[in-house]
Amino acid sequence: MSKPSLSWVVFRKELRETLRDKRVILGVVVSPLLVTPIILAAVFFFAGKKEIEKREATLSIGLVELAPFPEFANRLDGEDNLRIKQLESRDEAIEAIEERRIRAAIIVSSNARENFLSGGSADLEIVYNFANENSQVANGRMNRFLRNFNEESVKQRVASKDLPPSFTKPTEVTSTNIATSESTGSFVLGLFLPYLIVISAAFGGIQTAFDLCAGEKERSTMETLLVSPASRVQIVKGKLVTVFVISLIAALCAITGIVGPLILGIDFMKEQIGNQISIDLGSVFGLLLIVIPLALMTSSLLLVISSFARNQKEAQAYILPFISITLLPAMLSTIFGAETQLYTAFIPILNISLTMKQILGDLFDPLFFAISLGSSLLYAFIVMRIAAALFQRETILFRT
């Protein structure tokens, strides 16, 4: 029977121990597979409910007529879900908005009716408070009402002049969306899924990485391990592969936690994303392939931090710069479009996020993919070398 390599022996032991760590299981598997979908579902559910409430809520609107304008006032009175309160002055309206007795007010100027009837524009003013969410909603509702009022008034004016309805419509525009419901769903998914995968792959291995180096120093097991015949390179390889595998599991669970419920058909989540969510096997393979160098690089970075730290507490103190380094490019990917310039394929982490966006948005660019994959592998290799070099330094390993 051939003997296993010592890196493999270290890896198997580290993985076994890691999978017995409840904190890791909770953070890497349970949370993304159960907690995240539940939180997302709750967010979507309450956001949708709030939106319906906003649309259907009865709002109190103040009406200040400096001169009577019955054509307008009667139309406003007939509007659904509005409670109109007659007020005397603009100042009274402002005071009522501030005291939240009304949400917004419309001020009708003294010559508004005169201008309106003579074919001119009636001067109206909406007063609202931007700092109050309900007042903003009322402002939006008033603007929609005024749009409808204007359209109806224009129609009446055109009809009174015996002009065709097309007189105010020099062009008739029809927009045709050629995207299938599946590709629309994938596009919307591409807006946030890459960000989520990057975060999961980068942060999924934190607990494990800290446990495997800083934790070992803290518990005095590092010395025991270093006295074994395994070389430091073999030890660091075994530990690195463990963190890498955990990071990949974290990314996979994140994908499954988001895409799974959508594919399985939670209707109101589907409505938020698009009609259909379907990711073909090729896209899944592409996502997995591009996440590998990312997980390798972040695992090595985490191992560098963990090797350098005296204990887990110190490692946690060093983690903030790491989070910033990872989050910033990942967040930038939400600003950059999927069709971006080629130089972005060289920017670590951003290139991975953009490649995922391209894969999900049916904009796969083989050259961009190849450069992203190649450069990311190179960066991962460089950080791995740094982690291995750090492991050779006795001043680092025996910092107490």
Partner: protein, 249 residues
Amino acid sequence: MIIAENLTKTFRDRKRGLVRAVNRLSLNCEPGKIFGLLGANGAGKTTTLRMLATLLEPTEGSASIAGFDVKTNPEDARRNIGFLSGSTALYGRLTAREMIEYFGQLNGLSGSRLKSRVDNLIERLEIGEFQQGRCDKLSTGQKQRVSIARSIVHEPPVMIFDEPTSGLDVMTSQTIMGFIEECRSENLTVVFSTHIMSEVERLCDHVSVVHKGIVAAEGSVSALRDQTGEDSMESAFLKIVGAMEDIDE
């Protein structure tokens, strides 16, 4: 079996500058004998043992373990070492059996050879009752027995003990000292560092008194007592170290 010549280790310290933790230390340990390194805290004992165990690279000088140079052939040197220190460092989420198996595998054991060796140690050290218990749930005494099994699973010809009884209660310390005596009776080469005089008097065949990284005196326990004209090892040690302090001043 362990030969060290002019071993020197210097560190760069931000506040103190260049620190010479071990200075031209030489020793020769033979099979079937217990070689004691006696010194106060910070004398250089742990640094010396770490150089012998290839954890630290000597700045100057040379050392070999079972014929393998610690600088040029560290893996083979380590293959011949069993290392046990006071901190009972076990992996908390492994069982006692898995812990012993892991170190057996790291030392090249596999298959039936590994199984029979682990079974043998579990029986010999009476670990059977708690072999499936996770290490973080074991008592201090049980942990020490697992640590001993872990250190000898590959049957090393050389045993290095770095203050192995530090922080342990009297009963557990007795188990460790009994184990060190067993190593001698099995003809292993044993190096043992301590600052506890009673342990030196009970165990050591040869003692090097280390002070500030230098060997201040060496010989058998009785020879050191005779040299200093003292009745106890403790008084002899204080006289030797005191003389070194006088020279320094």
